[in-house]
Symmetry: C2
Subunit: 187 residues, 2 copies
DNA sequence: GTCTATAAACAGATAGAC
DNA sequence: GTCTATCTGTTTATAGAC
């Protein structure tokens, strides 16, 4: 396993920094100390902070969406949703981090339109996947979902975003677990 | 109606600034320009930024909780929840703002324990009120709530927090309206 | 109470040597 | 590519005159 490039190491450190502190909460200086290069070298790879953040969003988005797509669609809907929820648990509890895209949605006032669009795309991809699984759940056990699967999925995703905030605020994983439990009843 | 004191005007401007931009997104300089006094005068009233933020949380919390308590408990549960949802709508859509306590929950890494506790108290007050109304709804129409009223209330509140994020991100009120619609089915 | 003045640190960003 | 050096502007905060 060879040493990752400087560019990669910058991105690898940027993502958890945003998840923990937000757009205005980390600096090139922080990255400089973490990666071990001068801030001017970071500007070489990412001329502006907006460039860096946009790439961080794309990187994070690809990683998370790949993990979601990897959930076996042949499993019962309830099991798929449990695996989905696991994706959030560890980052919040172990790392005091929340979803990178949820955090940047809070910082939206500072971000260029390109980042806003990337965040919207990530939100919709999650909502679409959840809607698909909820529809599958309806076929398995035809009842229980409030409203259309699509609107239920959007509400569920909003609950996950808010649940991460609350879990970190109260320093307890039960708030995320409760949302997962509510999923069971919806499927 | 007499002119509010400088102290009051500082707080009155601080609250929407936090709701729009977060803890790291506004400065004493911003307030200085908005209120029309020098930054050193703001330090006279609020020696540190943490002092200012704590008072802003308490002020916001009192205002919102008073509005919630003012909702007539004799109304049908569904109507009460609709009035609750209205409290969020306008700030998000008209002002590009989200809940002050939700925003600061995203910035929790920078805040002292005193503010964390104040945020927790606000979250729990909302959840308790929602749980009370959901229980009332169960008496009126005994069915529909997923799980216990308490856990349903926490999930619903998380959905509101996440819904405000999404509504502002997508610049549409429909995402908040959908959560309100889901309430109807829960009551 | 409000101001001027200033501190000491930090931000994102750039020019140019090596 | 990475560095030194620097620019320009910002931040929170304090001392002390009025």
């Amino acid at each position: 396993m060879e040493t990752p490039s400087v560019r990669r190491r910058i991105l690898n450190h940027t993502i958890p920094l945003i998840m923990a502190r937000g757009y205005n909460g980390f600096s090139y200086r922080d990255l400089s100390e973490l990666v071990g290069v001068k801030t001017s070298s970071i500007h070489y790879y990412f001329p502006s902070k907006d460039d860096l953040v946009l790439e961080a969003v794309n990187e994070y988005s690809n990683n998370v969406l790949n993990s979601i797509q990897a959930i076996d669609a042949a499993l019962p809907a309830e099991t798929q949703l449990a695996k989905y929820a696991e994706l959030f648990d560890s980052t919040v509890i172990d790392g005091n981090q929340i979803c990178l895209c949820g955090m940047l949605a809070a910082d939206i006032g500072w971000l260029p339109e390109s980042v806003r669009l990337a965040l919207q795309t990530f939100f919709m991809a999650n909502e679409d996947w959840l809607a698909k699984v909820l529809r599958q759940g309806l076929e398995e056990r035809p009842f229980a979902v409030n409203g259309t699967p699509d609107s239920a999925a959007r509400m569920l995703y909003a609950a996950y975003q808010g649940g991460m905030l609350a879990s970190r605020l109260f320093r307890t994983e039960t708030r995320l677990k409760e949302i997962q439990a509510a999923c069971k009843i919806m499927t």
